[in-house]
């Protein structure tokens, strides 16, 4: 699998898009820091961007890479290589190179600005950790979609819909249900509902780390109470890990049965 990972990584390191993505984050980091002149503010702004953009890039890039490397995949399938190694190697290649673009692109300006001397280092670290989690989750979901759909247009469509649903529509439905059922106790429901969406989960984790749970509004207190404890942090990390493992397991499962 390491060899496949190496070649996917090598392939991506020559792709223009990896650099576009890297320079975008570099630019974003520099602009935010030097215009804002305040680390905490920059981190909050970055959070809003990362929460929406990282899943989008992960999804699109994952689907695009899978469809574009079809020839490569077919070539590999006839070689003495385990099937799961091929797909997991490609998946890790995409996810790791996207994460590297994110970490380097944002990390460099923040290091130059002096994040290590600042108290905001842990806020920033939690931002990067969430970003990496989201990259791994959405790339895995994208691979799932691409593996199940031979038709590229359909695959792309589904991938965009998935992103739209989790990033935008889900919150709307969540809010509507809170309004509709406001006469009932909703703390358990809202806790579970945000656990089920990795984007919401990451957002809450970062906001709590930044200690501005007032931004969470209505359910803020519930979250602070739950997530603030050791159990809460543990549960939410565990759910994020589960969000990575389940799609990756499904990649392995579908790829074992697929005809090429």
């Amino acid at each position: 699998m390491l060899k496949i990972l190496k070649y996917s990584f090598y392939d991506l390191s020559r792709s223009l898009w990896s650099y576009v993505y890297f320079f975008f984050y570099l630019l974003l980091g520099v602009v935010l820091l030097f215009l804002n002149n305040d680390l905490s503010n920059a981190v909050i702004t970055l959070m809003n961007v990362i929460i929406i953009l990282v899943p989008l890039i992960g999804t699109i890039f994952g689907v695009m890479y899978f469809y574009n490397s079809r020839e490569f995949t077919e070539l590999l399938l006839a070689q003495p290589v385990r099937r799961s190694s091929i797909f997991l190697g490609q998946y890790l290649g995409v996810a790791i190179s996207l994460s590297a673009s994110l970490i380097l692109g944002l990390g460099l300006p923040f290091i130059l600005y002096g994040i290590f001397q600042s108290g905001a280092i842990w806020d920033f670290a939690s931002l990067l950790v969430s970003g990496v989690f989201l990259t791994f989750i959405f790339t895995a979901l994208a691979f799932n979609i691409a593996l199940s759909n031979e038709n590229k247009i359909k695959g792309f469509g589904l991938a965009i819909l998935l992103w739209l649903f989790l990033a935008v529509v889900y919150d709307g439905l969540f809010l509507l249900s809170l309004v509709y059922f406001q006469d009932y106790p909703l703390d358990k429901f809202s806790l579970v509902a945000s656990m089920l969406n990795p984007i919401d989960l990451s957002r809450i984790l970062i906001l709590l780390k930044l200690d501005i749970s007032a931004l969470l509004g209505y359910t803020g207190a519930v979250f602070k109470q739950f997530f603030g404890t050791g159990l809460g942090a543990f549960t939410s990390i565990a759910v994020l890990i589960l969000w990575v493992i389940l799609p990756v397991w499904r990649i392995k499962y579908i790829s074992a049965k697929k005809d090429f």
């Binding site: 020839e71 490569f72 077919e74 006839a78 070689q79 003495p80 090429f260």
Partner: protein, 235 residues
């Protein structure tokens, strides 16, 4: 070498292989023929494990194929359509496959044979169809495995390369290898193959030598003998 029992494969509602049985001899050239869509490529891909059959058993060298991958170390495969990652150079692709296999390779000899030297530093997306097929042939033959599977090896080749390929296949056969070939060029098939396996409706309709095929159909000419099978079965 290859032992197939009761192989079934459907794509959706389309039945491609329908209880196919095949046992190949230890060495020699076996041509797999059949009309378009008769399941030649599906059969080959099943042997390679690229297509997962619904039912049936395939053994290569006594090793079961299902859920295994190690047996592919002993197979050289030439795919029908030479699809390569376009952003790689020819040399990079050859090195990559060598690295993946981790086996002794005779790539230089084959590059010389097919006169590929001037193309080594070109990107695969810039190669013509025929040159791609030559790269395909180099990748396939460079490992010297005991089982060789060639899916339409002649496609896109010029007459000179075709003669070289024919000689190469003969040489491999003399080493005692098993070679499975599909092709639409009938005189190519007639000239090189020891046995003919004819697929029809997902089963083996005929399995024997070229001479046997001619006598059983009562035709003197090989091409007509094949046409005879097809017209008799309205395929």
């Amino acid at each position: 070498m290859v032992n197939i029992t009761n192989l079934h494969k459907k794509f959706g509602s389309l039945v491609v292989l329908n209880g196919l049985n095949l046992k190949t001899p230890e060495s020699g050239i076996i041509a797999v023929l059949g009309p378009n869509g008769s399941g030649k490529t599906t059969l080959i891909k099943s042997i390679l494990g690229m297509v997962v059959p619904q039912k049936g058993e395939i053994e290569v060298n006594g090793q079961r194929v299902k859920r295994h991958w190690n047996y592919r170390k002993n197979i050289d495969y030439l795919p029908q359509i030479a699809n390569f990652p376009g952003n790689l150079k020819v040399q990079e692709l050859i090195d990559m496959i060598k690295d993946l296999r981790g086996k002794e390779a005779r790539d230089q000899e084959l590059i010389d044979l097919f006169k590929l030297e001037p193309f080594l530093q070109k990107k695969l997306s810039n190669l013509s169809g025929g040159s791609k097929q030559k790269v395909n042939l180099v990748l396939c033959f460079m490992f010297d495995s005991p089982l060789i599977i060639l899916d339409e090896p002649t496609s896109g080749l010029d007459p000179v390369s075709l003669i070289r390929l024919r000689k190469l296949i003969q040489r491999e056969k003399e080493k005692g290898k098993t070679i499975l070939i599909t092709s639409h060029i009938m005189n190519f098939v007639e000239e090189i193959s020891d046995r003919i396996v004819f697929l029809l409706e997902g089963k083996i309709y005929f399995n024997g030598t070229v001479e046997e095929l001619k006598t059983s159909t009562g035709e003197k000419d090989f091409e007509h003998a094949i046409a005879n099978i097809l017209t008799e079965n309205h395929a």
